[in-house]
Symmetry: C4
Subunit: 203 residues, 4 copies
């Protein structure tokens, strides 16, 4: 029984195409969470302005999922085969990514409210980010430890990526702790992390 | 009139790509069924906890559709041609899969409620699972009985798969019966079946 | 200026892939129009049964869009080039197809109500079907009259298809007239037409 | 470090496929913003007619996104490589496109209302159009200034396209100004611009 048989014949190309599809859908569904505001006569401009937490949450989640798309391809292009564990770790990652629209909507709704609701929303958002980061890190380590899944020339690069990905988890846990103090601060921190990541050219 | 003409020229590759698209969308739409809870001041954390049936239903449906994606590819990669019946049986399978977000939302809404509503929701969910299983089993038997649709080397494997797929239906019917006694039990049973399936490496 | 330049270089393959994407999404979004019913204690089973118009409308629209997918491929596989008019006629067809979830939701909501609301809903649904049929027929005639867009061996077949597609419009107009008498009858007629089409093996 | 490494190995083909996916989803989600109207007995026909702003907004946004699809391919087919900046400018463009369903829903809701709410809605819609146009123009200039990203034979054509794209911004800003006077006028102007663009055959 070879690897292709074990996974129902799923190739790296097919894994990548299906993952791209789920990521493209999750990123586009984010907009559905911004609801048309009800406005009294003459108040729509004001009400649209009041939605600023929705716009920020949309932007941060969009950029975060967009970076996951770039990262996912960075991983999948190094594969030569897909095994059983990789298939289901990848499904876990896609589940975490497709979960993001929910905490995005929750934080958009409660960010203006202050008090413990705001912090609960930011904590939920942080947990979602930690789940994505943990699933992605697990994927890197899974292939780093199974050289038969990757191109021979990529082994060192994959180990480096796995180690780098591991660093994301404590950063996200730190922001989760920050969310207990300031929800807006936590959301901005996720945005800053994403922008810093995007600006940082690494191979 | 050859097979390609009969089906408007649908190739196995195109059937597979369209099916992948529908499955990727159905799996990602699941999150839309989890609605942002309304919370009194200081109650959001509690309300988010109360949504546990939504999280479980999301996870079970996500894993089930994810496994259907793996299974569908396991079938379609053995095809060399697509006939008329296969095209419409596949459409029935996609219809059953894309129906899943509705019973998922129903069971998430009513799982906490107890009484007959809870059991009605679990029964609807079970029926959806049985429809998916029946459509998928029909697809396997359709190609098992039409050797010209599959690679010659795959005939024995396809018959084995068709027989295995048939076993899923009585299992799902048994869980449907369980749903009349315990809705939560039925949902957990579907989750256990999916995890067991995912852990079981079979070619 | 050749044809590829004129259309920004859109190839038949890319036209087909984008159309497949839109069709796959439209067919999967149909389920979002079935809303979780509100049920008193012990009434969920009854309320789920009351949703029968939603289930029928879902099934009819799903099958209709599914057939459009088969038909669209039947057309696009005969192309060797895409011109400007084809590009925008195709966009009109995709617009009509992606509009279908709205009349599907309207007819599901009002089918039980009786009176003129029911007939208005069925008329809207009929208009949507006529728009899809008219756009698709226009596509066939567009390529039938421009032999440089299609494979030489396909010219006769394309003219035959264009003539056959034209027949769909009066049938749909007749069902639209029927919708003024019986909304349920009209919806069933659309279902029967779709099933008859699916069962009829034509190249 | 070559360009492919710098961007995680994203090829023009993959950039194009992911963008197509997001655009196909955004264009199909537009329909979800048209809600089933509540109607008294015998009033559904009237209520469906009252939704005319929704139909117009759907049509204008659908055509605008459809044209963006054609344009995006017109750009991406000239690429030979993808660099870091292109990747994130493209993500910004996709963010702007996937934002469109929200202002479309807002203008559909408030277009009949008159007064300043109507103008606020039209202004929001105009801002969304300006963002799309600005992101797309930035993409053209980005590649026009980096000849290593494009085919040698395409350099002059790309500069011409970048200059033409720049002209779209003042046109959209002018319509934004018009939206402060007449919201319906602004929406119609966007429709006219889109139709004029679609009818104008340019390579």
């Amino acid at each position: 029984m070879n690897t292709a048989e074990e996974t129902g014949g799923t190739s790296p190309e097919r894994l990548s195409a299906f993952s791209d599809g789920v990521i493209a859908i999750a990123i586009t569904l984010l907009i559905l969470e911004i609801k048309v505001p009800e406005a009294e006569h003459g108040q729509l401009g004001h009400e649209l302005g009041e939605l600023w937490p929705s716009y920020i949450a949309f932007a941060v989640s969009f950029l975060t999922i967009g970076i996951m798309w770039v990262n996912h391809h960075n991983l999948s292009r190094r594969l030569v085969a897909v095994d059983h564990g990789l298939l289901y770790l990848n499904l876990a990652l896609l589940g975490a990514i497709s979960f993001i629209p929910f905490p995005t909507a929750v934080i958009a709704e409660y960010l203006r409210e202050g008090g413990s609701n705001e912090r609960s929303a930011a904590l939920l958002y942080s947990i979602a980010m930690i789940m994505v980061s943990a699933a992605f890190t697990s994927l890197w380590w899974h292939i780093a430890r199974r050289p038969h899944l990757i191109q021979a020339a990529q082994r060192d690069a994959v180990r480096t990526h796995a180690r780098k990905a591991s660093l994301g988890i404590p950063v996200y846990v730190a922001v989760a702790a920050l969310s207990l103090v300031s929800a807006t601060g936590a959301l901005i921190a996720f945005g800053v992390i994403a922008v810093a990541y995007a600006l940082n050219r690494s191979e």
